[in-house]
Amino acid sequence: MALFSQLMPKTMRARIDAWIARRNPPSREKILLHNRRLYILPTRFGYLFSVMLALLFLAAINYQNSMAFVLTFMLTALGIISLWQTHKNLLDLEVDLLSPRPVFMGEPSEFLLNFEHRNNSFRYAVGVQYAGQVPAYLSIGPRGKAQALLKIPTHKRGQFRPKGLTVFTRYPTGLFHAWGWLQFDTPILIYPKPLFGVTLQETMVEQPDGKTSTSTIEGDDFAGLREHRKGESLRHISWKAYAQGKGLLTKTFQGQARPSLWIDWYQIPQGSIESKLSHMTALAILAENENQKYGVRLPGKTIDQDSGTAHKLACLYAIATFRQVDFDQEFDPDEQAD
């Protein structure tokens, strides 16, 4: 079959692709496999089976053997019924892709798919496959649910839309292959692979200049009092002043702030874009782990210094999607990084 599609003229292939894309718009919600989303063609064995039927038919005519006719027609009927049954095995299934957790390139991305249907029928051997990977198979009971977990190898950083996810079946006879394309709008995010053996020192640590010394509630040297703000720790309230009837005042100190750092594109040692991004990823993780304040500077994009999980994710996102030309690009697990 693959050969067949390769032999097709390019324009025809493009036209068919466009037709398929039109009929299978990316979906934000769960996909209901209705008639228009399902396709069915004979398998290699289906074709072989029809050749066998033709031979049997000729033999039956030649020998004028009635029971050979009966057998030929019986198997033909079996073929017709399995066409319908194979199609029915997928019809009205609802499939939902839960947003995959972001992973670092090289780790498998885990696609968790929920299958559900409300019909009073068994569904067997419902396969779900990602672009030529080993498929996972499910059985779903009447009005039942099932989950499939696909582990997709990742070779490229960035944010992608998972295309080439198919649900298919050959049950019950293997003569026909029914399938539907699952085009989810759910993005999958792949961070660059963190560079190994990176430390935080070096040039990334910004030397505090004069301006960075500001009054804060932490520090070494007492600087003065200011009005207490809601939410500040009671530890820093000047109880002495309160006793003097001056109201709630907070003690401030002059001192060295915690070192904050910039993970700066231009200060990363020379290398390819990908290796630089790998390096930056590693630094962001390290900085977060060491509880530092850090920001990211990329050409054309800066993320201010901060800390916390949300900040880390924002930084990693920015690094992962840096100079990704086409955000709508499909995710091909077999394609090697440039």
Partner: protein, 666 residues
């Protein structure tokens, strides 16, 4: 951007899979089940190869034996092919082809690893079913093959099901359901697919094993052996009343030559027409002849028409041009009261008075004596018949056996014998007396089946009688058996020889049992008539009898498409009804309504969230009507998980609560 999809275009390749042990075992069993009925006809060594190969494969699955090395497979295949050739001196044709297919399939099991190989083996099993029908097309075979079809399909389902938790029983049920659903479609195809007259290429007309029937020679013991078989020789439907039992002489091979012990056929020219004087109305009937492996087409004495693909010899014997190895159905017209052969050739008349002088001297002497005593041949005939009738001659299946001069011993010593010896000695006496005489073998009588209103003629009705040529009267039939045992001719063999053959005839002594047997025979007759004989003529007749305007091929194809669509449409409707989705509960509908409203609010449910997490998020958001949403959820949970069934009051409340949540379009 759609490159990925286009490589998926028909469908993406599924990586080659290694077959699981359980599926290999299943296919081994499936093949064994399909091949076992063939063990009767396959050479012993081929059956041995099947068992050894399957056994080896199963043991290999259990890790008891090592897989055979790959280099061994090719030599084994070659040796297998050569052995088949050595056995049959061909590899084509039914028997050799079957043996070759069996050997190669068995060897295939030894190198099977992949899922794909197993599917090919399943197809070979389907093909094996067809080979069974080359040996037998009986109802029982068909039934056995239906079971085989179910087993093979269940195995195919197992291979495609990918769920080891399904029991064998439910696989068989699924398979049976598929097969049963195929039956109506099969019937439509069987009736309506235009039939083409065959054969398309040269046939090796192979004989079925162990066919009993009339032979082209007659010697003492031959027919009495045949009598012991209860097999059906042919069945006859009459257009009109069935003639009296004593007139039912079914003419088969005619024997004009005698070598002292054996009667055999002479080579006679075929004739296109003959002169016939008839004294009665024509008797019209249709014969459904079981395969007899010979050329005889049985017909009532005397047949007046030819059957397709047949000739008539000068001794009025209908002969098929091909060996009859398949069921044959033909219509025939006979005259039961007739005169033929008035102008017989002198050569032939000379042949039919000839006999070897050195055997049966007493018989020959007696014949010559009779010719001295009487001056007209009819008187001689009457004399001998009277002798049989009035002297102490006994009709028996178990006569004493003599080596030499069988007729002398019979006529003058034992006086006990069966029809063949009566006919033989009668004919010899006539020849000795100078009267041309010959033996006609065939069947006499038949058993009426009132269930289907037709006549069953069995091998046990086999009979031999004589014809004597008399000037100006032609060939006249005389049956010496009728003289000695009138019951044989009037009532049939079972009544004539009650004590000797009680055990093998169906009699109506037990009405229930007899009736059942007739019903079963009627079923077989209809099977032969409607299933096995359904060819292009039958098809045309049947369709025109239906009278729904199906006349040409294009009509048939059109009707075929309509019928197939109707049946599948009916299946679709029934299955749609039986498997229809359950209606969502009312409260689920209200909840979905709320979810749709929330989507419009901008606080939409993320794909990664389930409903519970989403509403948790709504609760902690700054959504204005979040309290009302919480109320909805509370009530929803109460209805869904509460102890009692939801009452209409709380459902109404839920609906109005959902209705009260208003979303301003943003």
């Amino acid at each position: 951007m759609n490159r990925q999809i286009s490589s998926n275009l028909p469908f993406s390749a599924i990586p080659q899979e290694i077959a699981s042990q359980s599926s290999i075992n299943a296919v081994c069993f499936c093949f064994l089940f399909s091949i076992t009925p063939h063990f009767r006809v396959l050479p012993l060594w081929v059956s041995g190869i099947v068992l050894v190969a399957l056994g080896w494969r199963v043991l290999q699955n259990m890790n008891r034996v090592q897989p055979l090395p790959k280099w061994l497979i090719v030599p084994m295949v070659l040796i297998g092919g050569v052995s088949v050739f050595a056995e049959f001196w061909t590899i084509a044709g039914r028997d050799a082809g079957l043996a070759l297919l069996t050997v190669m399939t068995s060897l295939k099991f030894l190198e099977t690893r992949n899922h794909r190989d197993l599917l090919i083996l399943i197809f070979l099993c389907y093909f094996l079913i067809a080979t069974h029908f080359l040996f037998s097309q009986s109802i029982l075979t068909a039934f056995l093959m239906l079971l085989t079809l179910i087993v093979i399909t269940a195995t195919l389902i197992t291979l495609n099901q990918r769920d080891d938790s399904v029991s064998i029983r439910s696989r068989l049920i699924i398979s049976s359901r598929l097969i049963m659903m195929s039956v109506p479609l099969m019937l439509v195809l069987f009736i309506l697919v235009p039939r083409v007259p065959g054969p398309l290429w040269g046939l090796t007309n192979e004989q079925r094993g162990g066919v009993t029937g009339l032979s082209n020679t007659m010697s003492p013991g031959k027919i009495s052996n045949l009598i012991r078989s209860n097999e059906v020789a042919f069945r006859v439907e009459f257009n009109g009343a069935i003639p009296a039992q004593k007139n039912l002489y079914w003419r088969g091979p005619v024997m004009s030559m005698f070598n002292g012990t054996r009667w055999y056929q002479s080579r006679r020219p075929t004739i296109d027409s003959f002169y016939l004087v008839s004294f009665d109305e024509a008797t019209e009937y249709t014969v459904t002849l079981e395969p007899n492996g010979e050329h005889w087409l049985l017909a009532l004495d005397i047949p007046t028409h030819l059957v397709e693909d047949s000739v008539m010899t000068a001794d009025f014997q209908l002969t098929s041009k091909r060996e009859i190895n398949d069921l044959r159905r033909y219509s025939m017209i006979s005259r039961l009261s007739y005169q033929v052969g008035m102008s017989e050739t002198a050569d032939y008349l000379e042949l039919t008075v000839d006999f070897p002088e050195d055997r049966n001297p007493r018989t020959i002497a007696y014949g010559r004596e009779l010719s001295q005593r009487y001056d007209n041949p009819e008187a001689i005939v009457q004399h001998v018949l009277t002798m049989f009738r009035e002297q102490n001659y006994i009709y028996t299946l178990k006569p004493p056996v003599f080596r030499d001069d069988v007729m002398d011993n019979f006529l003058f010593e034992s006086k006990r014998g069966f029809c063949e010896i009566y006919a033989g000695s009668f004919a010899l006496l006539m020849r000795a007396a100078g009267i041309p005489a010959r033996i006609v073998t065939g069947y006499q009588g038949g058993e009426y089946n009132q269930v289907g209103n037709y006549l069953i003629v069995r091998q046990s009705d086999a009979h031999a009688w004589t014809e004597v040529w008399i000037e100006r009267k032609g060939w006249l039939r005389f049956d010496p058996t009728a003289a000695v045992s009138p019951d044989r001719i009037e009532l049939g063999l079972g009544d004539a020889l009650q004590d000797e053959i009680l055990n093998f005839r169906i009699r109506n002594r037990n009405p229930l049992f007899g009736n059942l047997m007739y019903r079963w025979d009627n079923l077989q007759h209809n099977w032969n008539d409607w299933v096995l004989n359904y060819d292009e003529n039958r098809q045309r007749n049947f369709l025109s009898k239906l009278d729904i305007g199906i006349e040409s091929w294009s009509d048939m194809v059109f009707a075929l498409i309509i019928a197939l669509l109707s049946v599948t449409g009916l299946y679709w409707a029934v299955s749609w009804y039986r498997e229809r989705p359950s209606k969502p509960e009312t409260y689920e509908i209200y909840l979905n309504r709320l979810l749709r409203k929330m989507n419009k609010s901008g606080l939409e449910k993320r794909p990664s969230e389930d409903t519970r997490a989403f509403f948790k998020r709504v609760k902690s958001s700054d959504f204005q009507q979040k309290d009302q949403v919480s109320k909805v959820i509370e009530l929803y949970n109460l209805i869904k998980y509460g102890r009692s069934d939801p009452d209409s009051q709380s459902l109404d409340n839920l609906r109005s609560l959902v209705g009260s949540i208003k979303i301003q379009a943003r």
